[in-house]
């Protein structure tokens, strides 16, 4: 019944379709002659995202089943999809508020439409259960972000950073796609379902089979290509230049949208192995990349006086912490406890969102401040804020404390649960790997302490130092509301982390249990059966 399946897919995708449609409308509004139409662009973008949230939450009252738990057209609407869609839309509201006044008036339409397309892509990464859909969703996340970096402010700097970002991104996409092609070769189909998991696991177990090398290379290349999205070590070169060249709100967006997309895509690829991250080649790759990302990111960040570059390098370190959680894997403790301790992937999902909010908040404040008319970038620029603008100073300190992982900020809960689940995973790992996982956790904790040094420098500059020429906030309401909302959410998650953690638990539930293979009824199986009868290829 392809028509019924098609109808289900379309209604499930209503939130994404709203974003894409509003994106097209906003794109056309750029061409309007009157300035008042162009000035309405951010408002329309925001209402589109809010409408998508309402449909996602209350759509079932209208008969729109946005969360139909079925596999249709390569999409599965499980807990992970729900987590990604909700967090993408909530962060989307913050991002729109923060970048409300960002690019010049004439380019605002293009800018906000690209933002909407990127968010729609992120929302599609969550439910994708097919190599083709996953790849297209990842590209839908990336390509608009290259354009956003280029458009975000005038001058040659954003162009240079967009070009670096684009070229490395195209290469990383090609590496990912090469890995995907080998995975497709091993599984014999593009679907990421139980049948595909069986084939990959069989191929990895049997070193003599011809599929063994293909599966290993495919997995490693897919994961390595995706490291670009989360800016982990072999593909991290671009990040400081991109953050520095782009306008601050765009840098804030880059800390969340591509990162969540990359993390979720890595989840989906690693689930193909039955989450065999505590042994074999995958373990070593993740271990080495995690250690190098944490250490190199933190050491490079220590040397910076430019806050944008410092936050960029610290983003590499945060990706390292996330990889520790990925290495731990989902629900290692076995028992379904209420907390996310012992559930590495849930902890990572929680951490990505918290990091995204704190990072966005910090960049929002940087974008808001001006020193002699130019944007605020260095430590000297933010010095002495407490005396003149205490609310901004305290928000900045809150963001920095969260990124640092100071208890009781949500950053602390995130780090605690990631490292705790890695320790829990070590208990279940083979003896040789046990010690290496413990070593990884120790390195991660030492790195967190190292990171405190440069975050404290910013906090000290903001709260303690004096400046005879303080930065001034631009008198804009929307970015300030966005920054306040970021701070508010951080406080909420500091004292009520449960709801977000429970969402993360639900999301990681299905990672060990792949969606069942349903192609028995679908057309490709019928084609395959027909070919069995007459022994000729179907084309």
């Amino acid at each position: 019944m392809p028509s019924a399946a098609f109808a289900i897919s379309i209604t499930s995708l209503v939130p994404e379709l709203i974003l894409a449609a509003v994106g097209c409308v906003v794109l056309l509004m750029t061409q309007a002659k009157s300035g008042s139409v162009r000035r309405a662009v951010p408002g329309i973008t925001l209402s589109g995202i809010v409408l998508a949230i309402l449909i996602l939450r209350f759509g079932h009252l209208l008969g729109i089943s946005v969360g139909a738990d079925s596999i249709n057209g390569g999409l599965v609407f499980d807990g992970l999809a729900g987590f990604v869609r909700v967090s993408a839309l909530i962060l989307g509201v913050l991002i729109v508020l923060v970048s409300w006044v960002q690019p010049a008036d004439e380019e605002r339409g293009e800018f906000f439409s690209m933002m909407l397309f990127s968010l729609a892509g992120l929302m599609l990464v969550g439910p994708s259960a097919d190599l083709i859909v996953l790849f297209l969703a990842l590209e839908l996340v990336s390509i608009p972000t290259y354009i956003m970096v280029a458009l975000s402010r005038p001058g040659p700097r954003p162009l240079e950073s967009a070009t670096k970002y684009f070229y490395l991104g195209a290469m990383a996409a090609a590496i990912t796609a090469f890995g995907f092609s080998y995975l497709y070769g091993v599984t014999g189909g593009a679907a990421l379902d139980a049948g595909a998991v069986d084939r990959i696991v069989d191929a990895l177990r049997d070193p003599d089979s011809p599929a063994h090398n293909l599966a290993t290379i495919g997995l490693l290349l897919s994961v390595v290509g995706l490291l670009f999205k989360i800016a982990a070590v072999p593909l991290h070169f671009y990040i400081a230049d991109v953050y520095q060249g782009a306008a601050s709100p765009v840098a804030g967006l880059l800390g969340f949208v591509p990162k969540l997309a990359g993390i979720v895509a890595i989840f989906k690829i690693i689930s193909l192995t039955g989450w065999a991250t505590t042994e074999g080649a995958l373990f070593w790759i993740l271990w080495i990349v995690a250690v190098l990302s944490m250490t190199i990111g933190n050491v490079l960040a220590l040397r910076q006086t430019n806050i944008k570059r410092m936050l960029a390098y610290s983003g590499i370190a945060h990706s390292g912490y996330m990889l520790v959680g990925i290495l731990a894997g989902p629900i290692v403790a076995g028992e379904r406890a209420e907390s996310i301790m012992g559930d590495g992937t849930a902890a990572v999902l929680y951490y990505v969102v918290i990091y995204g909010i704190a990072n966005l908040g910090a960049f929002a404040l940087l974008g808001l401040l001006r020193v002699r008319g130019r944007p605020c970038e260095t430590l000297r620029d933010v010095a002495g804020l407490l005396r003149y603008y205490p609310s901004i100073a305290l928000l900045m300190a809150l963001s920095m404390f969260t990124l640092m992982g100071m208890p009781p900020t949500p950053g602390f809960w995130g780090k605690l649960s990631i490292f705790g689940s890695a320790l829990a995973a070590a208990e279940f790992a083979p003896a040789l790997y046990h010690d290496w996982i413990i070593a990884l956790v120790i390195i991660a904790v030492l790195n967190s302490a190292l990171a405190a040094a440069y975050y404290l420098r910013v906090i000290a500059a903001v709260l303690l130092f004096e400046s005879d020429e303080p930065a001034e906030p631009t008198p804009r309401e929307a970015p300030m509301i966005g920054a306040l909302l970021c701070g508010f959410l951080l406080l909420v998650f500091a004292f009520y982390p449960k709801p977000l953690m429970r969402l993360g638990r639900d999301a990681s539930d299905r990672l060990l249990v792949p969606p069942p293979t349903v192609q028995v009824e679908s057309t490709s199986a019928i084609v395959a059966e027909a070919t069995l009868l007459d022994e000729s290829p179907p084309f």
């Binding site: 790849f135 390509i143 280029a150 040659p156 070009t163 090609a174 090469f178 092609s181 593009a190 290829p537």
Partner: protein, 103 residues
């Protein structure tokens, strides 16, 4: 048969990667990423036609069509960026762009 096609695909991909890393001309670097994508397309079509086991599926061919569409979108964006960069400096050499770096 499959092995020969895979070798061609891997060779195209490797040439593209080497070219991307060694060349400094923006257009050539972009063409190298295209070469990498073509290597992937060869892989996908080969796996679709000669699967390791089981019957041929069409997923690989479909994937390669979408991949070409993505490559075309990237070409549109990449060439637009190259034109803008050329207007600033009048050269296609990537190494003249050093506005952003560690101090």
């Amino acid at each position: 048969m499959l092995v020969a096609y895979l070798l061609v695909g891997a060779a195209l991909f490797a040439l593209g990667l080497i070219g991307f890393v060694t060349r400094r001309n923006l257009i050539i670097m972009f063409l190298c990423t295209e070469l990498m994508f073509q290597g992937i397309v060869v892989n996908l079509v080969a796996f679709g036609r000669y699967p390791l086991d089981g019957n041929p599926t069409l997923d690989g061919q479909v994937f390669s069509l979408f991949l070409l569409a993505v490559a075309a979108a990237e070409a549109a964006l990449g060439l637009a960026l190259v034109v803008l960069l050329y207007r600033y400096k009048g050269t296609l050499d990537a190494s003249v762009w050093k506005l952003l770096k560690d101090v």
